[in-house]
């Protein structure tokens, strides 16, 4: 932590009193990172960038938005028509939510496949699940703000879920609404909370990063780096790789914003909210569909709500359900198969959540929901006992570079930095 490493005297003066430069140098520049990370490790930084994009566009949108049942829809249309580049800001924010979830879902599946939740990263994982929960609450309340038909009826359906709680359910719903139906007080508080929660997410993201930097990134092999020859400094190696990933992400994101901005939305949300007229099918945004399918799969209301929250809750205890000491799915032949079955199951749940709750869809939803919980509660604990893993490589260098002739190259890396 010596301040001598900075040549600029102003930087040295500041760093001696407030070591922010040492901190940044330590956490971004020197921070040793496994050199074998594949592109799935890009999605953490992409999620961070998405969060920043959402906060920046959201704050600017809030400057022109009116959280009142009589004006909310109009004010959004005013943003689309009369505010300079308002259409762009709103389409970034609206599609940004979808892309944020795409990125985070990939980030989570990466963690599931490569065992990133295992010791010593259990708290890192739990903080991540907490971020997912906060994101879901934020996205749900944000979708209510334009006060279109789906906003209103989505809010009605989801808040009504809390009435399933025995004895106090109805009081809780009245408390959430601020009245006896979804109305102006509901919209007002949702706006206030939608503005607050992203900053809570920022707080948890900081904790997530602190926990990450304690032991560093997991990697596709899943064994710890055995020394400097297995790692590269974060900068410039992963800053440039993250930048490349960001470029690709922004290209896809821009294609959605500029060429099919309403593709992931629902046309009914361009109809102003009407409490007297229920839409033919009330569907949540696509990123909630798997959970919506689980909710509807259980014939009992309280049971459905418990199953839906249970689907997230089970992620919190995942580090203690999967007891296998092998992190990476690459070395777990049976786990690997079940991972992809589970992945297909989640996609199936997403599809079923968008279908009407009738006929074969109900049966399939129940099977897929049962499998979801079976995977976590039975298959993973069982596999940790019965599965014989493949032999692990001795070190990251050997598996990456296929030989021990890397001592020279590794020192070259150090010199360069």
């Amino acid at each position: 932590m010596s301040a001598d490493k900075f040549s600029n005297p102003v930087v040295r003066w500041i760093d001696h009193r407030l070591p922010i430069f040492s901190f940044m140098d330590h956490e971004l520049n020197e921070y040793p990172t496994p050199k074998n990370l594949n592109y799935f490790w890009n999605f953490g930084s992409l999620a961070g960038v998405s969060l920043v994009i959402m906060i920046v566009t959201g704050i600017v949108l809030a400057m022109s938005y009116t959280p009142h049942v009589d004006y909310a829809f109009q004010s959004v249309e005013r943003i689309m028509r009369d505010v300079n580049h308002g259409w762009l800001l709103r389409y970034i924010h609206m599609n940004g939510a979808s892309f944020f979830f795409i990125v985070v879902f990939i980030h989570i599946f990466r963690g599931l496949y490569y065992g990133s939740y295992k010791a010593p990263r259990e708290l890192l994982w739990i903080l991540g699940v907490l971020i997912l929960l906060l994101m879901m609450a934020t996205a749900f309340m944000g979708y209510v703000l334009p006060w279109g038909q789906m906003s209103f009826w989505g809010a009605t359906v989801i808040t009504n879920l809390f009435s399933a709680i025995p004895f106090i359910g109805d009081s809780i719903v009245t408390f959430l609404w601020g009245g006896f139906s979804v109305d102006n007080p509901t919209l007002n508080r949702f706006f206030a909370l939608h503005y607050l929660m992203p900053f809570l997410i920022v707080g948890v993201v900081i904790l997530h990063l602190v926990a990450l930097h304690r032991f560093g990134s997991n990697n596709p092999i899943g064994i710890d780096p055995s020394g400097p020859q297995d790692t590269v400094p974060f900068h410039p190696y992963y800053t440039i790789k993250d930048f490349f990933g960001l470029s690709v992400f922004l290209t896809l994101f821009a294609a959605a914003i500029f060429f099919f901005p309403n593709f992931m939305g629902h046309p009914d949300n361009y109809i102003p909210a009407n409490p007297m007229q229920t839409p033919a099918h009330i569907v949540p945004e696509w990123y909630f569909l798997p959970f919506y399918a689980i909710l509807r799969a259980v014939p009992d209301k309280l049971g459905g709500v418990l199953a839906m929250f249970g689907a997230i809750a089970v992620l919190f205890i995942l580090p203690w359900l999967d007891r296998s000491p092998i992190r990476s799915g690459n070395f777990r032949p049976i786990f690997k198969i079940f991972f992809w079955v589970f992945f297909a199951d989640c996609i199936a749940l997403g599809y079923l959540g968008g279908m009407p709750a009738e006929g074969i869809y109900v049966v399939l939803s129940r099977v897929a929901t049962a499998w979801y919980f079976l995977h976590f509660l039975v298959i993973l604990p069982l596999l940790s006992v019965i599965e014989t893993p493949k032999p692990l490589p001795q070190s990251l260098s050997k598996s990456v570079l296929g030989g021990s002739a890397m001592a020279g190259a590794a020192s070259a890396v150090k010199e360069k930095v």
């Binding site: 599946f109 060429f259 309403n262 593709f263 992931m264 968008g354």
Partner: protein, 254 residues
Amino acid sequence: MKWFGSLIFGCILFVSNSFAAGSGDVVLKHKDWSFSGPFGTLDKSAMQRGFQAYREICASCHSLNYIAFRNLSDLGYSKAEIKAFAAEYEVEDGPNDDGEMFMRPGIAADRFPAPYPNDAAARAGNGGAYPPDLSLITKARANGPDYLYSLLTSYKDAPGDKEVPDGMYYNAAYPGNLIAMPQPIYGDDVSYADGAPADISSIASDLVYFLTWTAEPSLEKRKRTGVKVMIFLLIMVGMSYGAMRFIWSDVKKA
């Protein structure tokens, strides 16, 4: 694992599309609209004709609340023409210094006056059915442009087994096939100054152009900006890939 990302993205689009398609009991007529695709543009003369058709056919029942006269400059009208359009309407203003509301000719900053003072009056004037505001109609329906075009051109005699109650009309493109709006276009309802054909499907198509613009006046600008942004980002992808390969060249052999 590499195909995983594209797979999840594809599945998401598939799912979101399959429920957005909505009630599937009707088959829509598909037209190749000039505004579809990344290089799409809005046809100004079609929009002007559609504007005329809106004023002469639709405006007696359907409002256009989000459009102001000044917005018509997007259709290629001059300031003088826009002032003239606006002045054709009487708009309520006030209160004046005596505290009275008064009527005055419209100005460019006014929005299109609605045909009915409120929803109840609109329902009362239309046998209980509410004529929706048309500003956002092409975005508020699945496959909006095709839906609107199909709706306007699919009035037919009901098949023998279909009961059509009083005040309802048979429309092959409307979900459930019974619609409260009587057939609005019969052909030659308007006479276009530019001599363009005025048969049912031409007027319907012109209206789709006009109402696609009202739903999103920034559509053309969005797509034009998008092309530039994509070029910029694709160059950025190429350059950052090159930079990444260069920086990593001493770590991994390619």
